[in-house]
Symmetry: C2
Subunit: 347 residues, 2 copies
């Protein structure tokens, strides 16, 4: 990010952009020509997906079992969609039968779900949603904020039409951009849209004209954020994408064993867990705020708590990028054990 | 920007944010409590202003004599406002009588204008718009993208209700945030709004709850961009805001004299010029693209050309921040003279 800043129409900038797009395709697991980094953080990517692909009046089915599913539904509502929600308690997943039953009943034009739900630590199998959605002729938007760069997404194989993410989680970069991809089918859908998308700043047609072809000026992109993302993606390429995913998986499995050895319980059922975002139940009688405060102040480790219905009930522990190593796991487990021992009472 | 990245709810981050807000008040010339840096570049600030303060169905008067005035009108149209445009040829300003006549006839609820129009180099006197607008009970939005940090804006004295800007022009930072301020009157107006603003990511009520009070999570802010903005503003504070404005003015005056000595003509009439963005007429028979290419390739200097109705007709020359010095001016003028001599023919 300390490299000299060039103009937003400088040929060097577009070289950086091209490198970013190429490497994003690899981490997303897609051959989609349409890949961009939106000039905002993850939620701007969510808003880009919803405002471009869900027209006012369209029926929009949102599968939600956590905080970010609700956020997608709220954006759909604001953009004038007819939102129908398929809800389950926080922490659960949707089976293919459940998804099919809902989609067949509601017949939405667009369906959205959260691939890796940050608020709960739950991973949703994309195909359990995309198969029934495509069978009903609907397009599928996936929130990949917590999964991109951490675990395989395989956009093309899983049938996701539109996906968005962020830079500060699985890609281990500073926050500031939202990588977004769309299938050729989704782009056809976008071209056939009858009304202009409501948000000029996030209009994908205008953004396409800026990044491609004649580079028609749209907005000034955050140049240094692209430098950072290019380097972050280069580091992933150096390690190898599949090797990175395997490393995340390996230390996740080890993490689960260590927790069990400490008498702690994972919040999410085996098979549904996000390897890079581990949710652990706060033991009975333990004050989670005090534990997290001790971890931060005495060991310099920041973990998150639960919120909404999970406030006080779970710890959310990131284990991704350069932090998914044996040394870091040792360091964390030792610190957590000490903090739990020092914080038995509910405040 | 290379400082360690903290979380978006970290107390240290909010210390940085507080420092940014304090210094933004100084450069904006306002005591408004409401000052934020929006998580997107300048056009995201424009969209924030329009989508929060112009309700669907509201009558929205846009004064436009350049590219960015048109952009504001386009955003208003997309958000469902009844847009009325007061247009003049690119490069002109609006007198108080012209503004009053239009506003009295149209009776808009919200009025917008561009303080410093980047496409033409023209400065609009804010009071010629705010006085008739306030007399008619309308609220005023000002595009200060090119003026903030370069010249005095004096939000409170000039009666601007809502202003937005960018970080990469007068503030001499990387692009990535959009500083926005709103008067207490505008905030009252916002609170009385009957519908939710259409854009969740740019909803100022939610953004306020994030940056103030209990710091309720909204989106992940681009942390490193705040670090950069804090340092850019600290550099301005070190020099002194008024001293900086005076320095910009001083070298602008010198610039105009040098151009005259070279037989070149300024595009904008004296009194209406933006000191930090100088527009110079391309001399008869000179190919502006070739001159700009020579400047860049042989001297490492990047200037811009005109676009739209001014394509090929003007050079747009930035003279702001660390570049507004005698040495830089000498360097530029010498280079320009050489390039003009070497590029007499139209290609």
């Amino acid at each position: 990010m300390t490299a000299p800043i060039v103009g937003h129409l400088d040929p060097f900038f577009f070289e950086v952009v091209e490198a970013v797009h190429r490497d994003l395709r690899t981490v997303y697991g897609t051959a989609n020509p349409f890949v961009f980094a939106i000039s905002g953080t993850g939620s701007a990517g969510m808003e880009t997906a919803v405002s471009n692909f869900v027209e006012p009046g369209a029926k929009f089915a949102v599968f939600t079992a956590g905080f970010f599913g609700d956020r997608i539904a709220e954006m759909g509502r604001r953009h004038g969609a007819r939102v129908v929600r398929c809800e389950k308690p926080w922490g659960e997943t949707f089976s293919e039968a459940e998804a099919a039953e809902f989609i067949d009943r509601e017949r939405p034009q667009v369906v959205a779900f959260v691939h890796a739900e940050t608020s709960t630590g739950v991973l949703q199998n994309p195909e359990w949603i995309t198969r029934p959605a495509h069978a009903a002729g609907a397009m599928v938007i996936a929130d990949c904020v917590t999964s991109l760069g951490g675990i395989p997404i395989r956009i093309d194989a899983s049938g996701i039409d539109v996906a968005f993410s962020c830079t500060q989680k699985g890609l281990s970069c500073p926050p500031g951009l939202s990588p977004l991809t769309a299938s050729p089918r989704a782009i056809e859908w976008l071209r056939a849209r009858k009304t202009d998308p409501p948000i000029w700043y996030l209009d994908l047609k205008l953004i396409t004209d800026y990044y491609e072809g004649q580079h028609r000026y749209h907005h000034t992109a955050p140049i240094t954020m692209f430098y950072a993302l290019r380097e972050g993606l280069a580091a992933i390429r150096d390690e190898g994408v599949e090797q990175r995913f395997a490393r995340h998986q390996r230390w996740h499995v080890e993490f689960v064993q260590r927790m069990r050895a400490m008498g702690l319980e994972m919040y999410v059922a085996e098979g549904n867990r996000i390897p890079t975002l581990n949710t652990v139940r706060v033991p009975e009688g333990v004050n989670d705020v005090r534990v997290r405060k001790l971890l931060l102040e005495e060991h310099g480790i920041e973990i998150s708590g639960g919120f909404g219905p999970l406030a006080g009930k779970i710890f959310r522990i990131g284990l991704m990028g350069p932090l998914a190593t044996k040394d870091n796991l040792d360091f964390f487990c030792e610190a957590l054990e000490k903090c739990l021992a020092g914080a038995p009472a509910v405040a």
